[in-house]
Amino acid sequence: MKLALRDVRIAFEGRTVVALDALDLAENEIVGLVGESGSGKSITALAVMGLARSLGATVTGSIALDGRELLGLSERQLRQVRGRRVAMIFQSPVSAFNPLVRVGDLFVRTLRVHGVDSTDAGRRAEDALREVLLGPELLRRYPHQLSGGQAQRIAIALAVALRSDVLIADEPTSALDVTVQAEIIELLRMLRERERLSILFISHDLAVVAQLCDRVAVMRNGSIVESGTTAGLLRHPSHPYTRALLAAVPRLGGGRTA
């Protein structure tokens, strides 16, 4: 198993917000973690990145990457995992980038932190941009000069350049226009093929998950209420909450209710 979560409990000041029995991500698999706001999906993702503790959360249980336990690693050890092995992208990448640093420098700085020398870093950045279907001219831009779709592609390209093998994508398309969203989904699908990425895809949108994920776990109030293959779960949802979520997705071809 690429990534395996077992009996993960996340608590803030003694209040448990996540009580998750099991969540697995196999190599080269895309798993959707679906839930509404407050369901605990984002804090779970941050726990995998080793970032939940810095927000004041206590995390217990087991989070293993390729069989190696991540909980209890020192901050220095975690830095070796973060980015290099597991990368994360967010809903609004522009705000995650330093506004004063050009895209090219962002790549070079990030890669150098992970031990890649400058000349090699430049080449890797160009390759990674090509991989996400962007031109090298974007390396000279500042973050505010990027469209939302370009910025998300660049965040993904950073993961590619670092040769991460797990990507945690937290609502990566929620702030994007629908045509751009479709492009990013297509890109993630392509990278899974080419780079053999494993992706944990966090979303509130079941329709987007249906387009991309092999398996889905539905989260509510900190627990997984149902999980299964995407096709199986969409066709035969067994938990009432999954059914409610499915029924609530606005669908084309449903006609007018007004």
């Binding site: 509404e36 706001s37 279907l133 939302g148 226009d177 629908v178 045509t179 751009v180 969203q181 479709a182 492009e183 989904i185 297509e186 890109l187 392509m190 509130h204 949108d205 079941l206 329709a207 987007v208 249906a210 387009q211 995407t230 096709a231 969409l234 409610a244 979520l245 499915l246 029924a247 609530a248 997705v249 606005p250 669908r251 084309l252 071809g253 449903g254 006609g255 007018r256 209710t257 007004a258």
Partner: protein, 326 residues
């Protein structure tokens, strides 16, 4: 029969610092119950149009007529009355609710904004409004922060209804809400529309939301109308290549077979400036689209601004063609 119209917008032009945000947009809204959908991606000008309609910003040119009256030339008193007849609901209700005011007080203020009523009547009206939007009497004493996002949006809708408007402008009213909450608010809008014979201008980037609530739809791109007509026509058989791309990009619960990204990437990318705003992304663009601005014309039961609308209709469903937008 333009005197039968509630709102009539003609050749609206709005610019910011010399940059055109809205470029000659026209549409009409019939008296309620009636829903007009304004769909487009970011930068399409949809929010700018909404703000120009309620005169939160001034248009450069064009006509906005409400029941025949020229909205752009209303004096202060008339503008005040107009703003009671036309209410706007935003994506984020927090910007419009006073955080220090209890829900009951906020609604009472709206109820008495345009007429004096005895206290008992105000109370009764507030209760009825709460009930209509699916809230309860106990919510009167709450402050906005004590309510969920969906409840706050319900309060914003109740406050808009408090002045008995003829037209609602709904600017992405459910985009910030969880999907189960969104479904309930959409249901509420449909219900209110029937009860109050409401007319609304609904702005959304979500075609499925538009389909549920609007008889007619306007598709905007970079400030221009590319296609306008009955919603059913537009969504089932879009005639503009952009509407087709939008339609194809909507994720469905049924995973679809998609054309490969390689096929889409093989399409030519154009960087030149052209008379058709969609030229750079259009899979059907020809020289004429670069040299001659396509004007709205009637094709297959709707109006389309595309030289190649007939071909687009004929090609609809072809996988390579649909992939171009995604």
């Amino acid at each position: 029969m333009s005197d039968a119209l509630l709102l009539e917008v003609r050749d609206l032009v709005v610019s910011f610092d010399g940059v055109r945000a809205v470029e000659g947009v026209s549409f009409e809204i019939a008296p309620g119950p009636f829903g007009l959908g304004l769909v487009g991606e970011s930068g399409s000008g949809k929010t700018t149009i909404a703000r120009a309609v309620v005169r939160l910003l001034e248009a450069d040119r064009g006509e906005i007529r409400f029941l025949g009256a020229d909205v752009r030339r209303l004096g202060r008193a008339a503008l005040r009355r107009y703003r009671q007849s036309v209410q706007i609901v935003f994506q984020d209700p927090d910007g419009t609710l006073d955080p220090r005011m209890r829900i009951g007080a906020a609604l009472a203020e709206a109820v008495t904004a345009h007429r004096k009523l005895p206290r008992a009547a105000v109370n009764e009206r507030v209760d009825r409004l709460l009930h209509e939007v699916g809230l309860e009497e106990r919510h009167r004493r709450r402050f906005p922060h004590q309510l969920s996002g969906g409840q706050r949006q319900r309060v914003a809708i109740a406050r808009a209804l408090a002045v008995e408007p003829r037209l609602l402008v709904l600017d992405e009213p459910t985009s910030a809400l969880d999907v189960t909450v969104q479904a309930k608010v959409l249901e509420l809008i449909a219900q209110l529309r029937d009860q109050h014979a409401l007319a609304y201008l609904l702005i959304s980037h979500n075609l499925a939301v538009i389909e549920q609530l609007c008889e007619e739809t306007v598709v905007l791109y970079r400030g221009r109308v590319l296609e306008v007509g009955p919603t059913e026509q537009l969504l089932n058989r879009p005639a503009h290549p952009y509407t087709q791309a939008l339609r194809a990009a909507v994720p469905d619960l049924e995973p679809r077979v998609r054309a490969s990204a390689a096929a889409a990437a093989a399409l030519p990318v154009r960087h030149e400036t052209a008379r058709c705003p969609y030229y750079t992304r259009c899979p059907l663009a020809v020289e004429r689209c670069r040299d001659e601005q396509p004007l709205l014309r009637d094709v297959a039961g709707r109006s389309v601004a595309c030289h190649r609308a007939e071909d687009a209709l004929a090609f609809a469903g072809h996988p390579l063609h649909l992939a171009s937008g995604s």
